[in-house]
Amino acid sequence: MNSLERIKAALAFAPPDRTPAVPQLFGHAAVLAGVALGDYLRDGSLLARCQLGALRCYGHDVVFAFMDLCVETEAAGAILQYREHQYPDVASYALAPAGDAAALAVPDPAVAGRMPELLRAAGILRGELDDTVLVTGCVAGPMTLATQLLGIETALYLAADDPARFEKILDFAAAVAIRYGVAQIEAGVHLPIVFDPSASPAVVPPQFFRELLLPRLQRVFAAFRQAGALANWLNIAGPTAATLPYYPEAGADIANFDYYVEPQLAQQLLPHTCLDGNLKSLDFVAAQPEQIAAAAARLVSAFAGRGGFLLASGCEIPPEAKPENIAALVAACRGG
């Protein structure tokens, strides 16, 4: 089996030759290559080259055409502050606290901000790897983009104080995700992952997720499916036990779960959905390879009877992670 076939088997709950290894390696690929993160995040060719380098180094089963969660808000008008060795943050938001979504235009991925660079990375990765390795893209989920358009505190207060205006911003965010994600599929990714950390129950209560976010996620995933996505992948970190049961209804085929959620509970909550998780991110910086190997082996064993599992970190592996710890994750999938 090649990597893509292995992941397809896991998705279908068919037995793969081994557990797929899908460590969330984003900025770490730049560090591994000795490239400044600030350059990696603005140059699609460089990003693709670093992702391919990480793939050669670790031999895992996925590459990520993923920059950061500020790409969409920057394309919509926000001004970012870039740093050499960190992810950017928003210096000036696209929407003022009293602003309205009607003032914003859905960015054209061919020309807006860094979106064309991300599409370039997607095309290079798919061109190099074809159907041997899963090539993923990334979009910010509706709640995350809403918080990036306004700032998280302003967005949350607005959700409580003026729900109608906030819902229009969520609709705008869903439209951005659809247009950008479909462009990524057209550029070559097998699927765009929806990252929506602000939809975590650590940020908003489950009822908020069910009533306001679920309908928008359904819209996004339906559009991706229609555009030819191999599968739909929803990635929300944090204590998601209360919202995981809604993922199938959202249209997700792959559900990320973080270290807060025990593997047995995740299996109970999502018996028919492929799961990916849930090694603790910080351990890739602070722990020793033997500890990663032991934790990874426990996870592989926990899913051995069920299938439908991709071994991953529960959240991004920090850029400064120790390479030997990532190698230990991949080795655990290979049975040693």
């Binding site: 998280i152 505190e153 409580a160 650590a202 944090g238 910086v285 400064e320």
Partner: protein, 209 residues
């Protein structure tokens, strides 16, 4: 006072403010509104917020109402002689994410503490100097990204250099709470803002010595 507590727990800052103004107009002392209003509301919120049910939206709405009441009572900030104790709080240099810090600050103000907020991207020397200047019982550091951990490990040394080795250090936030107090070289790692506040309550009561 029940009406004030209910308004606070509903996150209705306008109603909480109006009720505070009514109570003050009726001659009620600010200290009593803090102890029987704000602190009572924060205790009930603490009981409700487990690790599983803690969410920023609800906490922020209550926190906004608490801040509105605190600003009404003490427009110049809680005076040192009236605060239960003083804490200095910051997000350290290299990390510009300050929501977790703001939440912790709101919870502590609601419990009657005086909190000196040094903002985000704060150098260690600034933190240590402020701890000395403000006679802080503890310094609180929040971190969302793992790359700030080396800075956190140096907080105690920075305090010791200023002769403040006895000042407690509490860490919290998404990145830091994955670690341990020993690994971060701090006194306590808080799972949530309320968890941290409980530790600080014990510290101030002398229950940890």
């Amino acid at each position: 006072m029940n009406k004030l507590v209910a308004s606070l727990l509903d996150g209705d800052h306008a109603a909480a403010l109006a009720e505070t103004q009514r109570l003050r107009g009726a001659g009620m002392a600010a200290e009593r509104i803090v102890t029987e209003g704000l602190e009572a509301a924060m205790r009930r919120l603490d009981d409700k917020c487990t690790v599983e049910s803690f969410n920023l939206l609800e906490i922020m709405l209550v926190g906004r109402a608490v801040s509105a009441v605190a600003n009404e009572l003490y427009p110049e900030g809680v005076p040192p002689e009236q605060g239960r104790a003083t804490f200095v709080i910051a997000t350290l240099e290299g990390d510009v994410h300050d929501l977790g810090k703001n939440i912790a600050k709101m919870v502590l103000i609601g419990k009657g503490y005086r909190v000196v907020d040094l903002g985000k991207d704060c150098p260690l020397a600034t933190l240590a100097n402020a701890a000395g200047r403000e006679h802080a019982r503890a310094v609180l550091v929040s971190g969302l990204i793992t790359s700030v951990i080396p800075q956190v490990r140096q907080v105690k040394a920075a305090l010791a250099e200023c002769g403040l080795a006895g000042v407690a250090v509490v860490a919290g936030g998404a990145a830091l709470k994955q670690s341990s107090a020993a690994a971060l070289n701090v006194d306590y790692v808080a799972e949530t803002a309320f968890d941290g506040a409980r530790y600080l309550d014990q510290l101030v009561r002398g229950a940890l010595s």
